[in-house]
Subunit: 389 residues, 2 copies
């Protein structure tokens, strides 16, 4: 602001509240932040020289060299050898630069998906999010503590399969999960205020992060899929949930309930839902409902009609969300969605929303298949342990 | 992370993308950030000693004293005199502390509301967001450049009414406004890619911030009203728009279209809207539509039915948004909304959404009346000029 020569007046009474009172920033925070920035840059692009990293991050070469030395000591960054230089470069600039990369094999991550109704699935992944080993444990209808015990057994088995130090354990759980990894509510597993993150951490003495499974899925889609812009990932399984990623930032809601669209009523004259209301989105879209309707459909035309109706209901429910958030992309994950269902949802959505200037709304299937939650849980570990915010 | 003694393995190929690659943080950023933090603390609570500010911010007393000296030089902070001390305090702690506050009268802000269909309204406000002077200019159907000229004339008149240095000019405009204050599209005013912020700044040589009017309104509700938690402010005028404030952070969308709910179709069999679709939310809720329907209603029961139907449509459109975002509060701003319309909207919303654990959804009228956009535009100036993020 411009400086003013006006005399200072007596202050009047009355306060006000402004946006986001944030915490103090101290110089030592800068180092931690910049370390993550170097890691992120290498993670995203790989194979760069110290000078490349300095250019991408805006940090000085001295700072980058210093941070890289620390990251190499921690085993996270490795030198790959010298860049193959163009002849002109040899003449003008001396020896070609040494290339750096994240050492993607130096650590393993355990990823767990608790969102399937019948089995808990898990994998050992490298830092690049590639699946190295898999395991699963049948749920056999377990709920409450018995379900937790099944999760522990799965993690134990995967830890035995890992062949590198473990960076951490990532878990995608159904239900409402808070930012301390407490599952506030997961009706299918009989969990209420289940201290899942804390109990896994205590049992295995490793860093653990527990997140909602649809939120894990949208992380995976962002990191390994093609998610761009303002994305909603709709995950259909035993229930219907969603993960939101807006301008590269995940949205959880102050009560951690963002994405809970399964029990939004789309037609009060619809079927009675387990929640007590009628015509919730889940009564058209969730697997048990679709299973039953498709089993009763005697012809392929009837089958198509069931799927199209489900897609239309999904489009009706999503249209106001697309408008309110200015979404540019809907990604679907789950069985039955590809084909007539997705087509009907896209048609309904386009008919019910105004196209944003300069953009078309995309509605598509995930490219990550059934591993989306496992891989997203691994990304959650990477984010937490490597300081990617 | 724990340090590891494992040998470093050869890195595998393949990159990935993580959340929010952010800019570097340098130590000098800390000072600017901490200066804002001190201002925010005083703005929110007022009348605090340097020691109080140190306690609230977590900064050292030396840092606070240093920043306060700078803020006093800039005329933003003023000493009010010594605190009236309790007798015991006198004995143990020597002289009572000097109280500081923002000097709320030291600067004035110009706030402008372009969202009314017939007049442009403006005010001179103090730093506390109180309205000191008002002015308005009849629009007389002006569009395009003629509308801009009316806005300039209004600002000029208000600048003549101000009696303190001007911190900045804040403008709430209808339509889609980007983060550089360009009105990308405002059909009622005939503006496309209108460089409003730049042209006002060039004309008056003052800091200017132009924001969408519903986004200004939700800022005002947050600063001066009772907005708590995850709030959507629905503003009804010639059109229908919304501002979103989630966990204290405003949501704009990557294309600046967040909150554009007016042209979401709630019933494809509804009336033909100006946008070409049928049954948009605006055909039930916007003032011209309600004016016409209420004029045709011959009895008070008919009038009630019109309002209730509009409220029901609003509830149907908002239910999926409430679910997807985990909203805890809907605030309404505009004529006709209070009474049967809001009641019907609340009833419909409750019937169509699942209550979040531990919380009830609130739907209420704003307490800020017709000044909500003016005051919100002033908050936008405060945020930009004083560095409140």
């Amino acid at each position: 602001m411009t400086t003013q020569d006006e005399p200072v007046r007596r202050a009047t009474a009355g306060g006000g509240r402004l946006l986001r009172p944030s915490a103090k920033v101290l110089p030592e925070h800068a180092r931690v932040h910049n370390r993550s920035l170097v890691l992120q840059t290498l993670y995203g692009s790989g194979q760069q020289s110290r000078a490349d990293v300095a250019r991408s991050t805006g940090l000085t070469r001295v700072t980058v060299s210093d941070l890289v030395a620390e990251l190499m000591e921690d085993g996270l960054v490795v030198e790959l050898g010298r860049r193959e230089a163009a002849p002109s470069e040899n003449v003008h600039r001396g020896k070609p630069a040494i290339l750096l990369d994240i050492d993607r094999a130096a650590f393993h991550i355990i990823g767990i998906d608790l969102g399937d109704y019948f089995v808990f699935r898990g994998a050992v992944l490298d830092l690049g999010g590639h699946i190295l080993q898999r395991a699963e444990v049948a749920l056999d209808g377990s709920t409450g503590d018995a379900a937790s015990v099944k999760a522990f057994a799965l993690i134990e088995r995967l830890l035995g399969q890992a062949t590198a130090p473990i960076l951490g354990i990532g878990v995608g759980s159904p239900g409402i999960v808070d930012d301390a990894g407490v599952v506030l509510s997961a009706p299918n597993l009989g969990w209420v205020d289940e201290l899942l993150q804390a109990s896994i951490a205590a049992r295995f003495s490793l860093p653990v992060v527990v997140v909602n499974d649809a939120n894990a899925a949208v992380l995976a889609e962002h990191s390994f899929g093609d998610a761009e812009g303002d994305t909603m990932l709709v995950k259909v399984g035993h229930g219907v949930g969603a993960g939101l990623l807006l301008g590269g930032v995940q949205l959880f809601g102050s009560r951690f309930t963002a994405g809970e669209i399964g029990h939004v009523v789309v037609d009060p004259d619809g079927a009675l839902c387990s929640c007590g209301k009628s015509g919730c989105l889940e009564t058209w879209l969730a697997i048990p409902w679709l299973d039953a309707k498709l089993a009763a459909a005697t012809t392929s035309a009837n089958r198509d009609a069931v799927l199209r109706e489900a897609g239309e209901r999904l489009g009706i429910a999503l249209a106001p969300v697309v408008g309110a958030l200015g979404l540019t992309e809907i990604v679907l994950s789950g069985p039955y969605l590809d084909g007539p269902l997705a087509e009907a949802a896209a048609t309904t959505l386009r008919a019910r929303t105004m196209a944003a200037p300069g953009s078309d709304l995309t509605l598509r299937m995930t490219t990550l298949g059934d591993d989306i939650v496992l891989r997203g849980a691994a990304v959650a570990v990477l984010s937490k342990q490597l300081g990617f915010s």
